[in-house]
Amino acid sequence: MRFTPAPLPFVTGLLLGLLTLSWLGSVVESTRLAESFVRFHMWLNVESGYFPTARQIRAVVKRRIGPEPTVHVIVGGSSVEHGVGQHESLIWTRFLQEHLGPEFRVTNLAQRAGSSTDFGNIGAELLLHEGRPVIYVAGSNMTTFSMDIRYSFYRHAMFDAWHRGYLLPWPPRDQLMRDVAWRGPSAARGAALGSLLDAYLNFNDLWNFVGYEYANSNWNRLLAERSFDSRASFPDPDYMPEQYANLRYLSDMTQAMKIVKDQILSPTDPRWQRTLASTEQMTPPRLRAVTLAMIDLDSPYYVDRLDPIEREAFVATAYEHARRLREIGFRRAEVPAIDFTTDDYIDRTHLSVSGGQKLAAKIAPIVRTMATELGYLQ
């Protein structure tokens, strides 16, 4: 190396630089993201190389705490609850907000390829932690509520929230997180260790802030030539209903039917125990007590093609899951899509705008009842 600086100034500069960046990371707030937040859409998501942090989730949730007492309705779950198939202006959580009125504040933290044990529960738990009135509206697929933290796309955020103390203390989950951090698959261990470092050094928050506000630093195939643009410059990409007109139900029928059939479980199937044990481990009792679990159903476009016995077993599976969730302490567990029609979906599983409207209308009274039961409303 031709240029060799004096060691002391170099190391001092290096440490000061790192400390300054770390301090910057600890003070920057994703304010603009929180102000314009509707959902963590595709360009604010791991798919496009953007990994929202627990502090960004916190910023979104905190932004919604107003001077008036409000009940926070946090929505978590998968792409169904995220609202894939609905333009952000027509997303189902907007209708839910309208149904519930100003006493409630709805925040959609559901994620594409996510579950109710990632962003949603981080948002709900950090509010519960602060003693605020929360109802957690959590989507669930037919047989599993929680995602295995070892393989979840969003484990980074769970570890981040855990290290920062945003999650409720829950020894079985704490033990699992420790186990995965030490003995889990390599990628999960990396996520755990990275989150631990980030909890002190705040580098992810700094980069996410810069990436959102100014410029992104990584090429991503979804964004292609716009990879280095700031994320704030990307609108939510989901389509308006008319744009979906020619895009509905395009999946291969055989494959889709196989997925539908594979979800059928008899009430005595031993797999229930495993999935319920995982749900209990990942969801603290205090969170279950304020949770409305919604079991997602597949579109009648496919379900109606099952023979009558299979169809009955399919629906029974959803109700069996709901029953079991109630048994382990979920305040409510419902199957709201039971009377939805083919038009209420855009594909096997995602709701159309009409489906979103129906869902909002169905669960709003349940949420209101829960709020009363929990003593949030007079």
Partner: protein, 423 residues
């Protein structure tokens, strides 16, 4: 990329804290050996640790005991181990299986249960280092007498995964110097080198994303963009590999230990010969010293020199991976080297006063002009510059097309190459 994992960050923090806190050179050496074992075990498991320790033991003992047969036997064990772990499937399934399907199938059924579950971490590097050690001992160099020194050489974690390939004659003095007094200056230079490596890796990873995105559309692009793609491919591998080497050299330097450089602006080369003097230098020198020269090098006339270069480069290609495209890539470069050697041979037959030539044998075109037009006039210098540029451009095209062979299956690479020239 092991150096870019959070686990490695944790490892490095603990390792360097201990290394700097403990001042006793013997204890520092112990930390280096233990660090190497932890590194091997964590990233490779027992399947990595056992072969490296067994081979290190065999190599060390053979070196200590000495004797031509003993050392040759140990070299054979090292080579066999490399072939077994890295090339058995390639030889049995890809080669024999393709040529003689029935026999290949029977052989595969026999061999499959014995095949290793995983390839030991860095086997291509540590076996080459052991072969270098044994060959040099056989040639008369003094062997390493202390086991701990040999283990430090064998388990030196910065160079374990992707080199540079070390020479023990240079490594041991550097090691003792580093163990005795790693200076703040060393740490500073090391950190800067790591930072440069990280920056290169960031650029390489972004290029990887772009290349993966463009590659399926390669044929749909116009010719300019196809050449841009080849350029990106070339930039990516240089940034990726030299970035990793920078980090390895930087970590070693933080310990006060100098390890060989691996790259010297390879894309400024004006001939394939010069390219290999600048690209993956530690491997090129290894191939030269332990394959090319033992085969006869350039001592046995031009035809034999060409055959030797081709053989050495095919083996060099296969070292990069167990697949035919790597062998062809090596052959391709061997052909380039042979052609450059032939051109040099032609120039030398012009019988000009070589003392007037600037000693840049790799710059074939420039050398020819200098040879014809001495003493150099302005006109000659201009012509030299033009020919240098032409030679450089030709070399870059040659190297770029080579990367297609390196990264893609043969048929696809050939198709892509044709489409670089035809719309």
């Amino acid at each position: 990329m092991i150096f870019l994992t959070y686990e490695f960050v944790g490892f490095a923090l603990v390792f360097f804290s201990l290394y700097y806190l403990i001042h006793n050179p013997t204890l520092r050496m112990a930390i280096l050996v233990i660090g190497g074992l932890v590194f091997q075990f964590h990233y490779g498991g027992w399947v990595s640790v056992v072969p490296v320790l067994v081979l290190a033991g065999v190599t060390f003992l053979a070196g200590r005991i000495g004797g031509r047969r003993m050392v040759t036997g140990a070299i054979a064990v090292c080579v066999f181990t490399l072939v077994f772990y890295k090339y058995t499937a390639f030889i049995v399934i890809d080669s024999i299986g393709t040529l003689l399907p029935d026999f290949g199938s029977a052989l595969r059924n026999t061999v499959q249960p014995a095949l290793p579950a995983a390839i030991p971490l860095g086997i291509s590097f540590f076996t080459f280092e052991f072969v270098h050690y044994l060959t040099d001992v056989r040639r008369g160099d003094r062997p390493i007498t202390r086991l701990r020194e040999f283990l430090t050489f064998a388990l030196f974690w910065p160079t374990m995964v992707a080199g540079p390939i070390k020479r023990y004659q240079q490594f041991l003095p550097a090691l003792h110097e580093g163990l005795a007094r790693p200076t703040a200056q060393d740490a500073t230079i090391g950190l800067m080198r790591i930072a440069i490596g990280l920056a290169k890796k960031w650029a390489a990873d972004n290029l990887t994303g772009w290349i993966d995105y463009i590659e399926p559309q390669f044929l749909l692009q116009d010719r300019t963009w196809r050449w841009v793609f080849v350029g990106a491919l070339a930039a990516r591998i240089l940034l990726d590999f030299s970035g990793y080497s920078d980090m390895a050299i930087g970590f070693a330097r933080m310990m006060g230990i100098a390890v060989p450089e691996n790259f010297n602006w390879p894309y400024l080369a004006r001939s394939p010969i010069e390219f290999w003097q600048r690209w993956h230098i530690s491997l090129s020198l290894w191939i030269r010293d332990y394959i090319y020269i033992p085969l006869g090098g350039s001592r046995l006339g031009l035809p034999r020199r060409v055959v030797n270069a081709l053989t050495a480069m095919v083996l060099c290609g296969l070292w990069h991976g167990a697949a035919w495209n790597f062998a062809v890539w090596g052959l391709y470069h061997g052909g380039g080297l042979a052609l450059a050697a032939l051109m040099q041979g032609g120039i030398s037959r012009l019988r000009i006063d070589r003392t007037k030539l600037v000693p840049q044998p790799a710059s074939v075109g420039a050398a020819a002009v200098r040879a014809v037009l001495t003493p150099p006039s302005l006109h000659a210098r201009l012509l030299t510059a033009v020919i240098d540029i032409v030679c450089w451009a030709g070399t870059m095209v040659f190297v770029g097309i080579g990367w297609l062979l390196f990264f893609y299956p043969l048929e696809k690479a050939a198709h892509m190459t044709v489409r670089l020239f035809i719309q």
